[in-house]
Symmetry: C2
Subunit: 359 residues, 2 copies
C-alpha cells in the first residue's frame, strides 16, 4: 500500500485526508453500503428484465453480472476486514454470498467457454482450410457446426497437406457440434439453477441481509480505531498473501503447457489478487487499473485452463469419431498454449502490479 | 559477402590473398576436389560397415550421413557456380546427386521423426501423468508403447483432472505404438531403397563421376577469370535470393501455428540458406557458425512441420480409437507449436546471419 497520504474517502469525494483523521468505519462502512446499494439495484433490474413481458434476456444477464460484481466485493471485504466487523455476521453473510456468486457464475462461465472454444475451432480449422472448402464435406458437417458453409462438398483432397486440412475441418465441425451440445446443456442447467436460487428463501435471506447492510454496517466493538491500524493492517496481510503466492508460482523453466497440476497455484494467485484488489479499492477509494490488468491475465488463465478441460472432457464422450477426437486434441493443446500465454502476460504485468502493491 | 580482403584458399592454408590474385579455378576446384574425396572416403567406409562380417549399423549410418553431406555441398556448388563450370556436366551431375541425396535422406528422416514424436508423446503424457501411472492401464498399453511401465493398472481416476490425464496416457501409449509401426515400416522401406540405390548402376555412374571430379574439375572455357568476377557474383546472387526469400516470409503477426500453407516459403528459405552457406564456404574456405546456427533453426522448422504432418497422417488411420486420435491431435498441435518456436528462433538468429551475409 502507498503510505497513508493518498488515502481517499471511498464515497468518491476528492478530499484527501490522513488516515489518522478517519476511523475504519468512515472508510469501510460507506464502501460496503455503496456495494450493497449496487447489489439491490442489480436485483431490481434483474426482476424487471425477468418479467414475462420483458424480452430482454441480455438485460437480465447484465443484471446478474452486476449482482455478482457487488457480491464478490462485499464478500471479499468481509473476508479481509473481518477484524473490523461483527465476525459472526461477517462469516455468515460471506458464506451465503459465496454460494450465490458461485451459483450465478456458472451460466456465464459455460456460455463464455462455449464461445471461446467455438472461436478457437473456427480459427484452427479456418487457418487450415482454404476458404471455399471451410466446413468440410456436406455429410460430415452437422447443421449446428460453427462457421460451416453448407453444401461445399469437396472432392478428394490433393496430397497429404490437403487431406490434413480436410481431416481437421471435418473433425473441427463435429467437435464444435459436440461442444455446443454439451456446453449448451450445461448452461441451460446452470440457468435453471440460477433462477431457482434467485427465487429461493435462502436467497431472500441474503437479499435481506444485504438490504440491512445498505443502511447499517455491523461493526466490531472498538470500531473507532484509525484506518492505519484497523484497515491498513488487514489490507497489508492480503497483500502479503498475494506476494507469497506469486513468489511460490512454479518457475517459467518448469512450465509445461500440458501440466494441469500446475494450474492450482495460479488459480489460487487469481483469488488472492482479487482480494487484494478489493482491499486496495476499499482503502484507496477507487479500483487500480494496473492491478485490474494483472487480474485480467489471471482470468484469461482460468478461462483457457477450463476451456482445455472442457475439450478433454468432450473427447471422453463415448463413441465419438476419431476425427472429432483428433480435433478436440488439437483444441486442448491450443487452449493449454493459451494457458501458457496468459501466464506469460501475467509475468509481464506483475512487476507493475507489485509496484502498485508495495510502496 | 565481406569484401575480398578476407578471402582465403579453400584448402585451409592460412595464407590470405587478394581475390584478384586467385583464379576462380584456384578457389572452386580445390573445394570440389576436397568434397569429392570426402564423398569417396564415406563410400569406402559405408562398404566396410556394410560387409556381412561387420555388425556396425551405426558406422554405416554415419558413412551415409557423411556421403550426403558431401553430395549436398557438391550439388550446391554445381548449382551456384554453374557459370564457372562445364554446364552440361554440372547439370547432369547435380541431377544425379539430388536423386542420391534424396534417396539416402529418407531413412534418416523417418528415424529422427519417430524419435522426435515418441519423445514429444513421452513429454506430453509424462507431464500429465503421475510417475507411478505413466503408460496408462495395462490393457491399453501395447508392448511397443514408448516409456510405458507395464502392469501399472490404474484404478478409477479421481475427478475430471485425473480422468483427463489417464485419457491422454492411454491415448499417448496407443498413438506411440501406431507411430512406431508406421514410421518403422517407412524407415525399413527407405533403408531397402537406399541399399538398392547404392548397388545400382545409376549410383556407380555417380560414383565414377565424383571420382573423376576428385582428380579433375570440368571447368567452363575462360576459367582463368578472377575470383571477384567468376565466384563472388554467383555467390552474391545466391545471397540475394536468400535475402529476398527471408524478406518475403509471412510476418509474425499473421503467423498461425496450424496454417500449414505458410510452411512452403520457410522450407524454400531453408534451401536458399543452405545454398548460401555452401557458397560462403567455397569463397571463404570455412563454414560460418552464425549461418550454421540460422540453418539449424530452419532444419528444426522442417523437422517439426514434418513430424506434425506424420501425426496428422497417423490420425487418418482407419478404425483407430478416439483416445488415440485425441493424443495425435495434441501431438500435432504440439509439433505445430514447435514449428512456431523454430520460426521465432530463426527470426532471432537472422539479424546476425544477415550481418555475416551483407558486408
Amino acid at each position: 500500500m502507498p503510505g497513508g497520504a493518498g488515502v481517499r474517502r471511498p464515497d468518491h469525494q476528492t478530499t484527501t485526508q490522513a488516515p489518522a483523521d478517519l476511523t475504519a468505519e468512515a472508510v469501510l462502512a460507506p464502501y460496503l453500503r455503496a456495494q450493497a446499494a449496487d447489489f439491490l439495484r442489480s436485483l431490481r433490474l434483474h426482476r424487471e428484465h425477468s418479467a414475462p413481458t420483458d424480452p430482454g434476456a441480455r438485460g437480465a444477464e447484465e443484471a446478474v453480472s452486476a449482482l455478482r460484481r457487488s457480491a464478490r466485493r462485499i464478500s471479499g471485504s468481509l473476508h479481509t476486514f473481518r477484524s473490523v466487523l461483527d465476525p459472526v455476521w461477517a462469516d455468515q453473510l460471506r458464506t451465503e454470498l459465496a454460494w450465490l456468486s458461485g451459483t450465478l457464475a456458472r451460466e456465464h462461465a459455460y456460455s463464455t467457454r462455449l464461445v471461446r472454444l467455438l472461436d478457437a475451432l473456427h480459427r484452427l480449422s479456418g487457418a487450415a482450410l482454404p476458404p471455399a472448402r471451410a466446413g468440410g464435406s456436406a455429410t460430415a458437417s452437422p447443421p449446428t457446426a460453427p462457421g460451416s458453409s453448407p453444401g461445399a462438398a469437396s472432392g478428394p483432397s490433393s496430397g497429404a497437406s490437403g487431406q490434413e486440412r480436410a481431416a481437421l475441418g471435418v473433425g473441427a465441425a463435429r467437435a464444435g457440434a459436440l461442444l455446443e451440445r454439451q456446453l449448451t446443456l450445461a448452461r441451460t442447467r446452470a440457468h435453471s439453477a440460477a433462477l431457482q436460487a434467485l427465487g429461493s428463501s435462502r436467497f431472500h435471506a441474503v437479499a435481506d441481509a444485504v438490504a440491512l447492510l445498505a443502511s447499517e454496517v455491523p461493526l466490531a466493538t472498538g470500531n473507532a480505531a484509525p484506518v492505519s491500524e484497523a484497515l491498513l493492517e488487514p489490507a497489508e496481510r492480503a497483500e502479503q498473501r498475494l506476494l507469497g503466492a506469486v513468489a511460490a508460482l512454479p518457475p517459467d523453466e518448469s512450465a509445461e503447457p500440458y501440466n494441469e497440476a500446475q494450474d492450482a497455484p495460479w488459480h489460487q494467485a487469481r483469488l488472492l489478487l482479487r482480494l487484494h484488489r478489493y482491499a486496495h479499492e476499499v482503502v484507496l477509494g477507487a479500483p487500480d487499473p494496473v492491478l485490474a490488468g494483472a487480474g485480467q491475465a489471471l482470468d484469461l488463465h482460468r478461462d483457457a485452463a477450463e476451456a482445455a478441460s472442457a475439450a478433454a472432457a468432450a473427447a471422453r464422450t463415448p463413441r465419438i469419431a476419431p476425427a472429432t477426437a483428433y480435433a478436440l486434441g488439437v483444441l486442448h493443446a491450443d487452449q493449454r498454449h493459451g494457458v501458457e500465454a496468459a501466464r506469460g502476460a501475467f509475468r509481464e504485468a506483475w512487476p507493475y502490479a507489485a509496484a502498485v502493491t508495495a510502496p
